[in-house]
Point group: C2
Chain length 404, copies 2
């Protein structure tokens, strides 16, 4: 008898009917003879509503209190899913992150899992129970509730799958799997049967739907992850570390991320230590800087441009402007209306020509490239947000993803 860990996202448990549907699906998995642990997210927009409520009370709510508040969303859905299973005659038990044995550090609102004590889950499974676990949360050694960051129910599921030595981790969501591109943008986009961890990580970081930390974790322990729909019965996409990859020799997919803002520090004196003096204060306030480009120019002055998420843009500018002044830069400008489009594929490693093909495809579609950044298996261009649909379609065709 194998253990299967499943995860159901917020849209899959958004109301009573969907919860019953999820319970049916969990039940059918058990009928196939496996032990089932299901991780659930908060119902629909619950987390957003709780955040809104907190901000009505405090401009900067304490992270510890925020965690206690937000953790309730997942407790509600996990109790309800267990009830739905019991109503269908299936023994089930709902567990909070803490009860499920998920220990974390005390970095509230973005805690890291420090350990897993699977004793309680094993006991419940051995008694014939289906175990429903509240995602996104754990407890510190001091018994305080923590949350693991937005979208971290995926992480809970992968961590439990690893800790329980599950056969695989199944992520149920509102899409049918991982596509060669967003099907809303590219009608010809195809669902992938399988994809490698590394490729998935690049896709997830650049717009596809799965929390990147959970993919890193799955990759580290080689835990296969199946992404599939909780609404329709259809084979999903298996993310794994195997070698028989269908996309071994080509681009796996095209990703887009619209949450991009750009800040340019103009006329930076080109001397050592300048970059550190700009980026250290940003790190201190927790702003993640993504692409950084430095344009050399005459007179030992350069323009230094970097991207951040739009949510962080205002804070980043507040931090950078005084620093720019103090180092004698000419000023700062920012732009909000940017996006990243990326092509991803292990096939690009050590194979020349992919970047050139990408730039040509965008050029022929009349799209201006603002910045470029690459990894071993990814090429990303930063373009105007309005151009995203055209860019993704052009790349999907250029890299022959339209056909099987």
């Amino acid at each position: 008898m194998a253990i299967i860990v499943q995860k159901y996202g917020g849209s899959s448990v958004a109301d009573a009917d969907r919860i019953k549907n999820v319970a049916g699906r969990i039940g059918r998995t058990q009928e196939r003879g496996d032990q089932v642990v299901a991780v659930v997210s908060a119902m629909g927009d619950t987390t957003d509503h709780l955040i809104e409520l907190a901000h009505k009370i405090s401009a900067a709510p304490a992270p510890r209190e925020m965690d206690l508040l937000l953790s309730t969303g997942e407790l509600v859905s996990c109790a309800l899913v267990a009830m739905a299973l019991q109503q269908g005659g299936r023994p089930a038990v709902s567990l909070s992150g803490g009860q499920a044995g998920i220990r974390t550090d005390a970095a509230h609102t973005r805690a890291r899992i420090s350990g897993l004590d699977p004793g309680r889950i094993h006991r419940e499974l051995d008694q014939g129970n289906i175990v429903i676990v509240a995602g996104f949360q754990g407890v510190t050694d001091g018994a305080d509730v923590t949350t693991l960051g937005r979208g971290a129910s995926d992480l809970t599921a992968v961590a439990l799958a690893i800790g329980l030595k599950a056969q695989r981790c199944e992520i149920y969501t509102d899409v049918e799997g991982i596509y060669t591109a967003d099907p809303r943008l590219v009608p010809q986009a195809r669902k992938l049967k399988e994809i490698g961890f590394e490729e998935m990580l690049e896709l997830a970081n650049y717009g596809a739907k799965m929390q990147p930390r959970s993919i890193e974790l799955a990759a580290a322990y080689n835990m296969p992850v199946l992404v599939c729909s909780s609404f329709v019965e259809a084979p999903g996409t298996l993310i794994h570390g195997g070698t028989a990859m269908e996309n071994r020799n080509k681009v796996a997919g095209v990703a887009a991320d619209r949450n991009v803002a750009k800040i340019t520090v103009l006329g930076v004196p080109d001397r050592p230590g300048i970059a550190a003096s700009l980026f250290e204060p940003l790190a201190k306030v927790g702003v993640s800087v993504d692409t950084i480009v430095q344009n050399s120019s005459v007179e030992r002055l350069t323009d230094l441009t970097f991207t951040v998420t739009r949510t962080d843009a205002k804070r980043a500018l507040e931090v950078v402007e005084p620093v720019a002044k103090s180092i004698g830069a000419k000023g700062c400008v920012s732009a909000q209306d940017l996006a990243k489009v990326s092509v991803v594929g292990t096939g690009m490693q050590n194979a020349p020509g992919y970047a050139a093909a990408m730039f040509r495809a965008l050029y022929e579609a009349g799209i201006n490239i603002e910045m470029i950044t690459t990894s071993e298996i990814r090429i990303t261009c930063i373009v105007n947000e309005a151009k995203v649909p055209e860019a993704v379609r052009a790349l999907h065709t250029a890299f022959q993803l339209d056909k099987e």
Copy 2:
């Protein structure tokens, strides 16, 4: 430095503005130089909404899952109150029932407090924190969340006050204190400065606003309880066990409870063991029977009438009807539209004439008495629900509660 335990009910924390108001009140208590522990209920109708949600999923949700679900309401409000205090510059910490050290038995949805480990609360208080505790909940020795029954945030507050050796327990609510009668029914009703535990217990059981178990507990440990308004600044009513009671020699108040249904088993053979055979099955399904009246008649047949809450009426009838048949009774009839009106006062002990005065007052108001039940310090008449306002007013006047 004394410890004060306060409790704020659901209407006191129903929205962000009220939560800020509660935080202000808690803060002012601390400013007076005391350590403050505040117990909060779920916001407004949260608990009802959660129950509704559960019933959309399951006709009979498992009590264990129900507890995990319902406990979230208090977690939300306790996190928000702590945030509001912090926003006002006051160090505060929010604790779940389990974190606050409230241990219970495993009787889910109606757990009893089995012990209190006040270590964490003392540590937080000693660090200068105001401690906000989620009411109505605790944990079992197996770390499962339990709830203590409807209205049990009062019980949480009293138990913490006792366990922390607090100076007193303050219950903040949407009324200004305990009145000689419901002011909505009796305009002349007066707020009592003080009342004895026993009298309060009878009033609470018969309609006044405080959870009876919490009064029993306060009485057992002689913990003074102040009931007052969370909306207006006004002296409340002190419930205590002292002897200098203003109402020593008279009726303290008139209470009414509209949640009464009556079931009559007709033509019961009058032989030993019959009562047990009727009431044991009711106890088994958890139906609490209140007043029981047996009318003897000729032919060794009696009519046996008892009252239950309206919520339990349907279930009680389902249990009693087959039993009635099996013991050869003639049938069952039930009525939903009943209410209890009670006069309460330690002054009634060993003093004749109160019952007669009550019956006369109701008679003169043209109100028919359906059943009568008494305790040492209470006389209760069951009357038609529609007659409650007239009955309460008539009794308030008859026992001279209109005047100071």
